[in-house]
């Protein structure tokens, strides 16, 4: 069994990442405080839920129409947090899913949150909705208008529906919080949403909400990887400018 050609560099990066994460997790074991700054976006989530409670209107959560990927798993942490808070404040939470695989997962997360907060009777199964990918836009816009949502959480794998949702939410006076790693959609969130979690911030926010030592270990490893990427980029730029392709050759092995 040998390595597939061209995959050595990425395999080494993966191994280093995993070992670093393991080392950080071990160093964080038993700790309750982690060295992470509070993201302003998370405060906005709390403010939005407070507004939902004050206005007596529901909150809406959607993960976009993109295919199932790591963003959904990060979005589940946000959903868990938002559902717990909504249950605690006796607020209604509407979740609209566009891909069927996440429907049972979101039902379980929201139901568990309402049950854990001692309010299983407040859980409304009809508020966890599945619609097909192309029906997502009219379904969400209809929900915004009919149910007059007060907060719009757009956290996940978004395509062009990002701009539609953010504008529709604005037209009903809802606070919008966006978060995605889709670079083409980030400008729409920045232009229209009240707060945007950009790229890695989106993952970091979900880790901060999870409060899980394993997640914090991975976040520390992620930070280390980021610095390594900066060093490699600078080194690569210097070498490429001087006509040396040694780093490119090494990375393509």
């Amino acid at each position: 069994m040998s390595l597939i050609e061209g995959s050595l560099a990425s395999f080494i990066v993966l191994l280093v990442y995993a070992v670093a994460a393991w080392a950080f997790i071990r160093s964080y074991q038993g700790k309750t405080e982690f060295p992470i700054k509070r993201l302003r976006g998370l405060d906005f989530i709390d403010d939005a839920l407070g507004r939902v409670t004050e206005m007596g209107r529901p909150a809406h959560f959607s993960m976009g129409s993109g295919e199932l990927d790591a963003q959904y798993f990060a979005a589940f942490e946000y959903l868990k947090y938002i559902a717990h808070k909504a249950a605690r404040y006796d607020a209604d939470l509407i979740v609209t899913n566009a891909i069927p695989e996440v429907q049972p997962v979101t039902e379980e997360i929201v139901k568990s949150a309402y049950t854990a907060e001692g309010k299983p009777d407040r859980y409304k199964p009809d508020n966890i909705r599945y619609v097909s990918v192309y029906a997502l836009r009219p379904a969400v816009l209809g929900a915004f208008q009919r149910e007059q949502v007060a907060a719009n959480f757009m956290l996940g794998n978004y395509y062009h529906e990002s701009v539609i949702f953010v504008e529709a939410a604005s037209s009903v006076g809802a606070i919008s919080i966006g978060g995605t790693t889709q670079t083409a959609q980030i400008p729409f969130f920045v232009a229209g949403a009240d707060y945007t979690l950009i790229g890695e911030e989106f993952y970091a926010g979900s880790i901060a909400l999870s409060g899980n030592v394993v997640h914090f270990g991975c976040l520390a490893s992620q930070e280390l990887g980021k610095y390594a990427a900066i060093v490699l980029t600078l080194l690569g730029a210097i070498l490429a400018t001087s006509g040396n392709d040694a780093l490119i050759q090494l990375m393509s092995k």
């Binding site: 395999f11 995993a18 009809d126 539609i164 993952y203 899980n212 992620q222």
Partner: protein, 207 residues
Amino acid sequence: MKQQFPVLFGAITGLLVLFASYFKAPVLQSVSNELLQWRVIVAAFALLLGIANISRIHVNRVSRKDQNTPYSLMLLIVMYGALILGLGYGAQSPQYKFIWDNVYSSLNATWYSTTAFYMMSSAWRGFRVRSVQAGVLMVAAIVVMLSKVGIGELVWSQIPAIGNWIVEIPNTAGMRGILVGSCLGAVGVSLRIMLGLERGHLGGGSK
């Protein structure tokens, strides 16, 4: 057991597929391909859950007889009508293709085209100059927009070159920076899933 089995199953399958993308081993490749096929089957079963969810919600609305009942009734008729036509005549049949071409495709294109109006509205709100950053955004956007239309060159011959420079240099650099950070985050999530350490998707009352 309810939580341990999915985590263990996810970890084993995830690691197998991961190793198959790094190591040359025919057995590993065939197992990985088979598991990727299973994903399609699982998604199909999940679609049934989705149909059940839509049916439950809209049957409830029809039975309540509120102001939205006609829309729910229409949805159920169209959904099950298309399903029966597709199952009865096949997805390539003229009957099914008629619905696809004349209802679904045209409605979808209509929705897609509305995006332009939402973009206009978003740009109007986003380009209000409330800070230095918003000012930079607005100036860059105007230059790039002018560089993409003929009138830009008439205003100043250097505008297309400046617009291209903005798109290719600072914009690409920023996008790549975001991508590198995002990819590292995605690797972290994937590793946690494959090592059975990610449980956020399993519900539970950890908070």
